[in-house]
């Protein structure tokens, strides 16, 4: 999950902002992950990409498009909403739930690649694994993320990582994508460096 920057008032000192990935970087990273998926899945056979909302969904569609461009393989893409599986539902006001859209062929017996923007505590991925369990039985599950910022709280790791960013807990990572935010970029906010 990406975390938005803390709200700022005009009088507060400006926290530092650092661009980690530019638009061109994001494109290159997506291309690389697409290649890696092709490599590690024998040409994306029997593979389904499931994006985790919000930004995992467009990332999954981009990966599928690149895979199709590189090798002419059409990888089924879907969306897996994990809201109802979160372990922190009761800490917030009721969250709106999003759509879950599985590809027509389903996921049973398939290799599922979960796609998200940022890997942080690992709790989102745990929720996604629980959600998967309720919608079918994949042969195996892999994880692709644009950014891994560390600080795992669960024994979870990614199979495909666009960029590892060492961070402190005081910092936050914000991913924007053209589809959801108007432009591709990854920024690191905060700390007082």
């Amino acid at each position: 999950m990406a975390y938005p920057p803390a709200a700022r008032s005009s009088t507060a000192p400006q926290p530092s902002v650092k661009v980690i990935l530019t638009s061109a970087d994001v494109q290159r990273v997506v291309d690389r992950i697409a290649h890696q998926i092709l490599e590690k899945t024998q040409g994306a056979q029997q593979t389904v990409l499931l994006g985790i909302p919000t930004r995992g969904a467009p990332l999954a569609r981009r990966l599928a498009a690149r895979i199709s461009a590189f090798e002419g393989v059409d990888v089924p893409v879907g969306v897996l909403d994990i809201t109802l599986y979160r372990d922190d539902l009761r800490r917030h006001a009721t969250r709106a739930i999003g759509p879950t859209e599985l590809p027509a062929g389903g996921i049973d017996g398939k290799r599922v690649v979960l796609v998200d923007d940022v890997l942080f505590s690992g709790r989102t991925v745990r929720a996604a694994l629980d959600a998967l369990n309720d919608v079918g039985r994949p042969a195996s599950v892999q994880l692709a993320v644009l950014v891994d910022r560390g600080h795992r709280e669960l024994p979870i790791r990614a199979d495909y990582v666009g960029k590892n960013i060492p961070t402190s807990l005081a910092e936050s990572v914000k991913v924007t994508l053209a589809e959801t935010d108007g432009a591709d970029e990854v920024k690191l906010y905060g700390g007082d460096r």
Partner: protein
């Protein structure tokens, strides 16, 4: 965020739309092999039913269970309620049991409002006296939206015993909030005084079903109890059916796309004929299925987060 659902008036357009959108997602669970979501794990939902209504109770029970809540059914029969325990004492008992939500059906109008004063948890009105039944209105709205694609701008005729109908009151409130035009149709004896001012300005009243049908996108038939004729609300069941019942010829006066709804249970031959009830225009069976999804959405909205 609302804490209780006592009346259709508790829902503004945004909240109502959010419930309908959530219900649409909940509906997909019904098609899955594992018809269960973990959202309300560890939460306790009590169904407190002072009236027999197996349909409504089962619908709420299925909804709560699909969200993994623990469900306790507390029915008036065979419980301390039958021995004359007061609603307040029952409320305190449920409170002590740790009920996170109480779904209450009660013959007295306003009983859920009273209950909400006495329990910390959320109260969902599952029908109170001749007052309201807000989840029925939500499932009706959901059904209209899924059949006709929208609610705003629809002309909805609600036909029958409006005076005693909790379904009608909740529907007038909710449908008006969502931008539909409601016309209440029935004999003047069964239309309550000042209904438009009381519920929603812009609500129309008509005593002539045949005149209303050609302009209606939705016709909602209300259950009419035969016993009402003993109170002189109308002379006989036969006369009622002739003037306000929906039969095949009347149904054919409706526009091509129009649908026929009924909250059930039906009095076949009284307010609706079998031909109409079983026709493709009828949404009666869908309404039942949609009830579970809508009630899941309501329970999730009330209990799915920290809304205190």
């Amino acid at each position: 965020m609302i804490r209780h659902l006592l009346s259709g008036a508790d829902l503004d357009a945004a909240t109502a739309t959010r419930i309908l959108d959530t219900a649409a997602e909940m509906a997909t669970v019904a098609g899955r092999e594992v018809k269960k979501l973990p959202a309300l794990r560890g939460r306790t939902v009590v169904n407190l039913f002072y009236e027999d209504s197996t349909r409504t109770r089962i619908s709420f029970e299925a909804a709560a269970k699909r969200l993994s809540a623990d469900v306790i059914n507390f029915s008036a029969k065979g419980s301390s309620v039958a021995k004359g325990e007061s609603l307040k004492d029952t409320a305190l008992t449920l409170q002590a049991m740790g009920a996170d939500a109480v779904v209450v059906r009660h013959p007295a109008s306003g009983a859920p409002h009273r209950l909400a004063d006495w329990v910390d948890g959320s109260v969902v009105n599952a029908g109170d006296g001749t007052h309201e039944h807000p989840t029925q209105a939500l499932l009706d709205a959901y059904t209209m939206r899924s059949r006709l694609g929208r609610i705003a701008g629809l002309s909805v005729a609600v036909v029958g015993d409006v005076l005693h109908s909790r379904v009608a009151r909740s529907n007038v409130l909710l449908l008006s909030t969502l931008g539909a035009k409601v016309t209440l149709v029935g004999p003047p004896t069964l239309i309550p005084v000042d209904i438009a001012q009381a519920l929603a300005p812009g609500t129309d009243v008509s005593y002539d079903l045949d005149a209303v049908l050609p302009q209606s996108d939705v016709v909602m038939m209300l259950r009419v109890q035969r016993e009402r004729m003993n109170d002189s609300y109308f002379p006989s069941a036969r006369e009622y059916a002739r003037r306000y019942g929906l039969d095949g010829p009347r149904m054919r006066r409706l526009p091509e796309h129009a649908i026929v709804m009924h909250p059930g249970p039906m009095n076949r031959g009284m307010e609706i004929t079998p031909e109409v009830a079983d026709s493709p225009r009828s949404t009666i069976v869908e309404q039942v299925a949609n009830g579970v999804s809508v009630r899941m959405a309501v329970l999730y909205l009330l209990l799915g987060g920290n809304n205190r």
